[in-house]
Symmetry: C2
Subunit: 280 residues, 2 copies
C-alpha cells in the first residue's frame, strides 16, 4: 500500500494545481500532451485510485447528509474522449440518491425555443446534490460555433453569459468543476476502430462523428477559447490528459476529492435528539 | 372618438419615455406622485385604453404566429398596489395560448434548495410566448432584504446577477418590461379597508400584509435600489403611478403596445403553399 503511493511523494504538486487552467492566463492545448501521466504508472496507480474513490464516497455521503452544498461536474471532450467511461468510474461508489447524471444531446424544439442556458439551469443540483453533466451549455460555444449554427455575434457574447451564470451559481452555493478530456486524433482513431469492430460498442459510433473528426482543428480552437475565457476562480476548467483511461480516472478522482474535501462537509447534529436517547 | 384622444396631443412625449427609469441615473420614488395622470382624465381615457388593447391583441397574435420573439413582463408592487388588476386588464384581450401568468409566492423547499433564479428561469417564455410575472426574482432583493432572510453580503451581489441574467435573456431574444406599481400608504390603507369590508375580497387580506405595511420605508428603499440598479437598456424598469387604477392600466397598456410595436411582428409566409392554392 505504501509502495503504491510513492508517486504522490515524488510529485508534491497536486493534479488540481497542475491541470487547472489559470484564470485569465489562457491555455495552449498543443502544449499539453494527451498521454501525460505525471510519473504515475498504470500498475502502481490502482491503490491511489481506490483511495480517492473511498474519499469520494465518504465526502459525498456527508454532502448529502448536510444539505449545505451543491456540486456540479461538467465533462466535455471530443467523441470517444472517455466521458462515459469517466462517469462510470466516478459513479462507481457514489450513492445514486444524491447524484444525477445528465446528458445533453441535440436540443429539442422546446429547448431551442428558449435561451441556451434554460435546459441546463433546470437540472442544476440542489442542496446536498451532485450533478454530472455529460456535455453541457459549453456545446453552445463549441459545436454551435464550429458548425455556424448561430452567427459569430451571437456565440461570441456567450462566454460572458456563461461566466456570469456560473458566478451566480457559485455565489449561491454551487461548487463547480469542469473537466476537458484531452485526447489526440490518433487515440480517437484507435477508439473508433475498436468501436466498429466490437458488436457491443458499435452502436456508439455515428457517421456524424467523422464529420467532427474532420473539423478537429476548428474544435480545438473552439475548446481553447472556451477553456481560456471561462476558467474562473468560481468555476475552473481542468485539462485532463485522457489518452490513458486509467490516468483520466485517477486525475478526475483526485481533483474532485480534493475539491470536496475543502468544503469540509460534516454529518449534521440532530439538535432535537436527547443525547442520552436509548431506543427500547 | 377624436375628442377623447386629445390628451395624447397635449402630451407628445410617450409614457414609455416619461416613466422609464433611466439606466444608470437612479430613481427617487418620493419625486414621483402615485396619483399622477399626465393630463389624462378617467372619463376621456376609455377610448385610448380600448385602442391600446386593440393594438395589443393584434401584436400578440402576430408574435404568436411568428415565433421569433419572447416577451417577459414583470409586475412588482406593495400589497394592494394592483398587480392582479393589471394582469386582468392586460389579459382581457390576449390569446391565452401564447400568454402565461406566473405568480411567485414564498419559495417551496425544493426552490429554496436551488439558486433564486432557478424557479424563474424555468418558466421563461419561449418563442412566440408572452409571460407575465406576478412578483418575480426581484423579491430576492426586496422582501428577502427587508426581512434579512439572507445576509447583506448575499443579497447585495444579486443586483449584478439579475442584470447579467436579464442581459443574457435579452441577447438570446427576450423582450423584457418591468413595471413597479407605485401607490402611497393612504391608498393602500383605503384598499385594505375595502378588502376587509367586502366578503368577496376579504380572502385577499393577510395579517402579514400589515407587517410589510409597517416596514413601508424599508421597502421603498429596497425598491429604489432595485429600480436604480437594475433598470438597463436590455430590461428597463417603469414606475407606474398606480393610485388610479384606470391610469395604471392605461400606462401599462401603452408602454407594452409601443414596445411590442417596435418588434414589428409579422404573420409568417408559408413558403410551401402554392400562391394559387384553392381548396375544393
Amino acid at each position: 500500500m505504501v509502495d503504491s503511493m510513492t508517486p504522490v511523494k515524488r510529485q508534491p504538486e497536486s493534479l488540481r494545481g497542475r491541470l487547472r487552467v489559470k484564470p485569465g492566463a489562457g491555455v495552449d492545448l498543443r502544449s499539453i500532451a494527451p498521454d501525460e501521466t505525471f510519473g504515475y504508472r498504470k500498475d502502481t496507480a490502482q491503490a491511489k485510485v481506490a483511495g480517492d474513490v473511498e474519499r469520494l464516497v465518504d465526502l459525498q455521503e456527508r454532502i448529502w447528509a448536510e444539505r449545505a452544498h451543491r456540486v456540479l461536474i461538467v465533462l466535455q471532450g471530443m467523441d470517444a474522449s472517455g466521458k462515459d467511461g469517466a462517469i462510470k468510474h466516478l459513479m462507481s461508489g457514489l450513492h445514486p440518491l444524491g447524484c444525477r447524471v445528465v446528458g445533453f444531446g441535440v436540443p429539442s424544439a422546446v429547448e431551442l425555443a428558449h435561451d441556451y442556458l434554460w435546459r441546463v439551469h433546470q437540472v442544476m443540483p440542489g442542496n446536498g446534490e451532485m450533478a454530472i453533466f455529460n456535455r453541457s451549455h459549453y456545446e453552445d460555444v463549441l459545436v454551435v460555433r464550429v458548425k455556424s449554427l448561430v452567427s459569430e455575434a451571437v456565440w461570441s457574447r456567450r462566454y460572458d453569459h456563461v461566466n456570469e451564470f456560473e458566478r451566480m451559481l457559485a455565489d449561491e452555493g454551487t461548487t463547480i468543476l469542469k473537466f476537458f478530456l484531452h485526447i489526440d486524433q490518433e487515440e480517437q482513431l484507435s477508439r473508433f476502430q475498436d468501436r466498429l469492430g466490437d458488436p457491443t460498442k458499435r452502436w456508439k459510433f455515428k457517421m456524424g462523428d467523422l464529420e467532427a473528426r474532420q473539423q478537429w482543428d476548428d474544435y480545438m480552437a473552439a475548446y481553447a477559447d472556451a477553456l481560456s475565457r471561462c476558467s474562473t476562480d468560481a468555476a475552473p476548467w481542468y485539462v485532463i490528459p485522457a489518452n490513458r483511461k486509467w490516468f483520466r480516472d485517477l486525475a478526475i478522482g483526485e481533483i474532485l476529492a480534493d475539491t470536496l474535501d475543502d468544503l469540509k462537509p460534516t454529518f449534521p447534529e440532530q439538535a432535537d435528539l436527547p443525547p442520552d436517547l436509548v431506543l427500547t
